[in-house]
């Protein structure tokens, strides 16, 4: 910073140079507010998720026109099969089914891959690599990490050979695939169905009306409370100057937790009064009426055929 009004020669703007500099000198603050940024990001992902799902629920696609109850049940059956199967082929097939359903339901495939496959399955795969070694799983060696070693460190003797086995690799591949595929089915459900129709499906499945009401109200107020919480974090972030210690940051989080609780409590009283004014007498009413159309029958037929293919595949391999 030479003069107060020195300008960046490359950009013809009036922004002073010090403003354009990266905040290297404030790196300390950045480190200190990392937890705030993380919390805000996680809280705002709730809203992102909702906006995205609202967009896809409205678009015309295959899954969107299926009766929510039938969709919920079939996708749960798929998740169960995914959990029961021991065959890699079945898992690959199920994975393929999720991708094709995402495509046919006009979902954004890029978002689907980014959200489902990049994070959890990959993470699980990496964390599982030790499990594929001869320490945990037996099988035909695929490649050796070391061989013919006689080491004895502080009384603990290492195994003479360590290798990654073929079946060990298949095992961890299955695990990551299974996780990815199950999460995909959950993603398909929520991206094509409103939460209120899912809870209505719950009530058709004899979940007590009280619980269904709580589910509906909770979902609604998650957004309000997360917005309040995110604003608290932002306010603290903007006010952070100088150095703050971990202790003060922790006590900040604790006090925000209790403030949020006090606010939620206050809100619940007001909501109750508002509900009473509108004639609430203990049970929520759903505006949905489920009917089974031709599309649903076709969907059921489609899935029975898929199940037969999967079952035959399992049987014959």
């Amino acid at each position: 910073m030479k003069t107060k009004h020195s300008q960046n020669p490359k950009q013809k703007t009036n922004i002073p140079l010090w403003m354009l500099k990266g905040n290297g000198q404030y790196a300390n603050i950045q480190k200190q507010t990392n937890f705030l940024i993380k919390t805000v990001k996680e809280l705002s992902s709730i809203m992102q998720n909702e906006i995205l799902s609202e967009k896809f629920v409205k678009s015309k696609g295959y899954l969107q026109m299926i009766n929510p109850l039938i969709k919920l049940l079939t996708l749960l059956v798929f998740i169960l099969i995914c959990s029961l199967t021991k065959s890699l082929i079945t898992l690959i097939l199920l994975g393929f089914i999720t991708v094709s359903l995402a495509k046919l339901s006009a979902l954004n495939l890029k978002d689907y891959f980014k959200r489902i496959w990049i994070i959890l399955p990959l993470l699980v795969f990496v964390f599982s690599i030790p499990a594929s070694t001869s320490l945990f799983s037996k099988g035909v060696p695929l490649f050796y990490i070391y061989k013919g070693l006689n080491l004895n460190i502080a009384g603990i003797s290492l195994p003479t050979e360590l290798y990654i086995s073929f079946s060990g690799l298949i095992m961890i591949l299955k695990m990551s695939l299974r996780i990815g595929v199950s999460v995909s089915f959950a993603y398909l459900l929520i991206m094509t169905t409103r939460w209120s129709s899912i809870t209505h499906a719950f009530s058709v499945l004899r979940v007590p009306p009280l619980i269904v009401t709580i589910f509906n109200m909770t979902y609604r107020y998650i957004f309000i409370l997360s917005k309040i919480a995110a604003e608290m974090m932002e306010a603290r972030f903007l006010r952070t100057v100088g150095s703050t210690g971990g202790k003060s940051n922790r006590s900040f989080m604790a006090s925000r937790m209790s403030i949020l609780f006090i606010k939620a409590n206050f809100l619940s009283d007001e909501i109750y009064n508002a509900m009473r004014c509108r004639g609430f007498c203990g049970e929520g009413v759903s505006l949905y009426k489920f009917k089974i159309g031709k599309a649903d029958l076709l969907w059921i037929a489609n899935n029975i055929l898929i199940l037969i293919v999967l079952f035959l595949g399992e049987l014959l391999t």
Partner: protein, 342 residues
């Protein structure tokens, strides 16, 4: 601590859900006793609150850990109401945000909505006794309650992980689900939770409760959704929890019996044993299949890497083509139907 889908075997997750159902019913009944309409929004708001605070990153050195907050909720509204609130939050997380599996809901709720609030709440009650809210003894109770609650929940999760390789192994002897045994899962989980997450959870809960005691003391005294009477004996107080654990124990052998052979991996002979006959068509199909891929041996991968991967690729392609064409055709018909209806 959210257990993802597929890491636990269905023989673990389904009994866990089965054990949770009576627990939820009892919790609901307990809450209902003191529940007027007013408590419905309160429970919903508490559930939303539990959901949101699970996203709070609490700074720890350069890094940060997540708070769970189940003990905080339990102290404020009672353990039964906390069980419902945290369960609702966990179920929404599983369905809507993919945090924790849908089948794993039973296990996750058991760890975080039963073990954690109950252990935390009763530890707190035991230590705090009738001491005043601002007293040191009370604060110690809150700290130890949330510390123990979180750690026991983590221990339960670690045991659920750790028993998987003991119980479920495929034909080749390799684990089918979680592969790290108890000797690894327990120390890893416990080290993390007893040294880092546990103390943080304790400090945060103490500070948050102290804050509420200072600024909104009325929330701590008369507004709890469900008051537990101190007169009840140990067994009546813990009956549902004991019941849940007993159900879990009783149900798990059923899963074991069912895993005599891996599901769906029955050969034609075994199928005959199981259901008494083999559908004739199936036998024929099996012959055709065997003719296509002669000399193929699957389980031990004796065929070596190349031939088995060739088999995998071939059968995957056949399957994909079948499934794709079925789905594509039905979806097109369904879409057309829908359009003509509108």
């Amino acid at each position: 601590m959210h257990i993802p889908e597929g890491y636990l075997s269905p023989q673990t997750t389904i009994p866990a859900i089965a054990a949770m159902v009576p627990l939820w019913a009892i919790a609901l009944n307990k809450v209902k006793k003191t529940l007027n309409h007013k408590q419905i929004p309160k429970l919903a708001l508490c559930a939303a609150f539990s959901f949101v605070i699970m996203m709070f990153n609490v700074p720890l050195g350069e890094s940060s850990v997540h708070a769970v907050g189940a003990v905080f909720v339990a102290i404020l509204i009672g353990p039964w109401a906390a069980c419902i609130a945290v369960s609702v939050a966990l179920i929404i997380q599983a369905f809507v945000f993919g945090d924790g599996g849908i089948l794993a809901i039973g296990a996750n709720c058991f760890n975080m909505a039963v073990v954690m609030p109950f252990v935390g709440y009763y530890t707190y009650k035991l230590i705090a006794g009738k001491s005043k809210f601002e007293s040191k003894r009370n604060m110690l109770g809150i700290f130890l309650g949330s510390y123990l609650g979180l750690n026991l929940a983590a221990l339960f999760a670690a045991v659920e992980f750790g028993i998987q390789p003991l119980l479920f192994r495929g034909i080749d002897g390799n684990p089918l689900y979680g592969y790290y045994p108890l000797s690894i899962s327990v120390p890893v989980m416990m080290a993390e939770h007893s040294f880092f997450a546990g103390p943080i959870e304790g400090i945060i809960t103490v500070a948050a409760i102290a804050y509420i005691a200072k600024f909104a003391p009325q929330l701590l005294s008369n507004n709890t959704i469900q008051k537990t009477s101190a007169k009840e004996s140990f067994f009546t107080t813990y009956k549902p929890v004991i019941l849940g654990i007993v159900t879990l124990v009783l149900l798990s052998p059923i899963g074991l019996i069912a895993t005599g052979t891996a599901w769906g991996e029955w050969g034609a002979d075994e199928l005959k044993e199981k259901i008494g006959f083999i559908p004739q068509g199936l036998e024929k199909l099996s012959e055709i299949w065997n003719a296509w891929l002669p000399d193929y041996s699957m389980p031990g991968f004796e065929g070596g890497f190349l031939s088995s991967s060739a088999f995998y690729i071939a059968s995957a392609i056949i399957g994909i083509l079948l499934v794709a064409s079925i789905t594509y055709i039905t979806s097109k018909i369904a879409m057309k139907e829908q359009e003509s209806e509108n």
